[in-house]
């Protein structure tokens, strides 16, 4: 028990690192993923800006990236990571692959959320003479808000999982803690506590996301 008390700052430190990595990658991955998700929807067959070429290119790239497990992706893009942040280890070294891993995921989820916006509603505004940009920003994104919130919730939880693996490149965080104490030193207590913290974190985020989506969903 005493030893665990000593460990509190260590847990605090790891939790903080996890939050930094998740937060930072989430923001950037969202900034990249949402526009890509919009593109994926509007370039389709009979949508606002049909463009087979853009759609198929984007679709293929996203599929390729999404089919790689995070740990492999992280290793595979080491040269790219070094090019961007100058290192492939530590928190910075982990954030780049986390973004590359999460952005396509977010764009896929966004695609689904935006697809759920009723075509009839979009058509109604086209018929009233709204421009395509107005339809994207004032109709689609607004109507899809509950779906977008849920999509970001799922992406955040996915990121926490990936962040744990980023411990492998010495990025720190809860995953790294569990790996160092639990796997390498067989310290069951630390491992269990780490797991508990992770579970609580994920629960919190999911509940928060569900709550926000419900708030936004005035309909149904």
């Amino acid at each position: 028990m005493e030893r665990l008390a000593e460990m509190i700052p260590v847990f605090g430190q790891s939790l903080q690192e996890t939050i930094i990595m998740v937060g930072f990658s989430l923001v950037i991955a969202t900034l990249v993923g949402i526009p890509l998700g919009i593109l994926l929807v509007i370039t389709q067959g009979n949508h606002l800006f049909p463009n087979k070429w853009i759609y198929h290119t984007l679709n293929t790239i996203i599929n390729v990236v999404r089919s790689l497990p995070f740990i492999i992706l992280m290793v595979a893009i080491i040269p790219f990571t070094e090019l961007i942040v100058g290192t492939s280890i530590g928190i910075e070294g982990a954030i780049v692959p986390l973004i590359v891993y999460t952005a396509p995921y977010i764009s896929r989820l966004m695609e689904t959320a935006l697809h759920d916006v009723d075509r009839g509603v979009i058509e109604a505004y086209q018929a009233m003479g709204a421009s395509r940009t107005q339809i994207i920003f004032r109709i689609m994104l607004r109507e899809a808000r509950p779906g977008i919130v849920l999509c970001l919730t799922i992406a955040t939880i996915g990121l926490i999982g990936a962040t744990a693996m980023a411990g492998a490149v010495g990025a720190g965080g809860l995953g790294d803690l569990a790996l160092r104490y639990g796997y390498q030193s067989w310290d069951i207590e630390v491992m269990v506590i780490t797991v508990v913290i992770l579970v609580v974190l994920v629960q919190l985020i999911q509940s928060l996301g569900n709550w926000a989506a419900r708030k936004l969903k005035k309909s149904s």
Binding site: D118, A124, Y125, G129, R142, E143, K217, K218
Partner: protein
């Protein structure tokens, strides 16, 4: 107001061509309520959607308010569309906006000043009878109320034309009635041209001035509602009218009539409210040695004009029957011989 000329539209589904419209020509006058009726898949929605070019015809010309719609650039097309309102079967309201914002959003997009929007939306909500629902969300409204929001939204840009794609098909008969009243009301108030599609003859009967009957991508018959009801030519039209005048003659009666002599006939007599029918039938039996027998009779109001339909069994000597029919033809709106050999139509 709207001239559609020789409109063709085909879709490619997989490697098959579906011809949704095969040369449709329509002319809608300003201030008219024009109905298009047809069975599912006849091409009604496709036709309606070519008016505002939601659907681009494969060939043909679309002229709305003197403008050739197919030659417009995107921006001009958008401006032209602002003058063509549309309402839908499933309302297509924004679920994340309340009633006020559902009506207001298109005005905000058009950069109308805030105070003007407020006044305008309040006026529109009063017009459709929803002034106390401004803060409700669509999910809190009944179908009829949702359609009222749809109508208010469609009128927000001061359109000259209102397109209605089965606007009452998702509503119960009473609500349908009240929505039709509202459409009639705004048609009169703003001299708004309305094109509505439906598969219910009741809707046509209640508010339309003119009607086109569609089948398999072509208009098989069109004209004033009174004319079409009095004297339908095509079988499909007759079938639609049967939903209002159920004038099928039971086969036992037809058999009886067969036995009453070779000259016996069943006549479908259409008369308008202003034609005095009693003296006509009286004169018929007084002047001609024929016997008449009323098989069916019904009278209905078509947008204010009464239209009566009678099925009359007439028998006697052949020449007397002929003369009697001629007399009827001269006296009432329309006479159709339903059965020559006594066969039911």
């Amino acid at each position: 107001m709207i001239q559609l000329t020789d409109i063709h539209k085909s879709y490619t589904v997989g490697n098959k061509q579906v011809q949704a419209l095969k040369g449709v020509t329509l002319n809608v006058e300003k201030g008219q309520i024009f109905g298009v009726i047809g069975f599912s898949g006849a091409g009604k929605s496709t036709l309606l959607r070519t008016i505002n070019l939601l659907e681009k015809p494969t060939s043909g010309s679309v002229v709305v308010n003197g403008q050739n719609m197919l030659s417009l650039k995107e921006k001009d097309l958008r401006n032209a569309r602002k003058k063509i309102g549309i309402i839908f079967q499933h309302f297509n309201l924004l679920s994340s906006y309340n009633v006020f914002d559902n009506v207001a959003e298109i005005l905000r997009m058009n950069r109308v000043p805030k105070d003007v929007i407020k006044k305008k939306v309040e006026d529109l909500l009063r017009l459709v009878g929803l002034e106390d629902k401004a803060n409700s969300y669509p999910s809190q409204l009944s179908g009829g109320q949702k359609q009222r929001v749809g109508i208010a939204r469609a009128l927000a840009t001061d359109p000259e034309i209102l397109l209605c794609d089965e606007a009452t098909s998702a509503l119960d008969p009473q609500t349908t009635e009240s929505i039709l009243e509202l459409l009639l009301d705004i048609n009169r108030k703003f001299n708004l041209t309305i094109v509505l599609i439906t598969h219910e003859m009741q809707v046509i009967k209640k508010i339309c001035d003119n009607v086109a009957i569609m089948e398999n991508g072509v208009v098989i018959e069109q004209g004033s509602v009174l004319d079409i009801f009095s004297n339908p030519q095509q079988q499909t039209t007759k079938n639609f009218i049967k939903t209002i005048f159920d004038d099928n003659v039971p086969s036992e009666i037809v058999d009886n009539i067969k036995q009453s002599g070779p000259a016996a006939k069943i006549l479908r007599v259409a008369f308008r409210g202003d034609a005095a029918l009693d003296p006509v039938l009286g004169t018929l039996s007084a002047r001609f040695p024929v016997s008449t027998n009323l098989l069916y009779g019904s009278i209905t109001s078509i947008k204010g004009t009464a239209l009566g339909i009678l099925l009359l069994h007439i028998s006697g000597e052949e020449k007397d029957v002929e003369a009697g029919i001629q007399f009827l033809r001269d006296s009432v709106y329309n006479v159709d011989i339903v059965s020559r050999e006594g066969g039911s139509n």
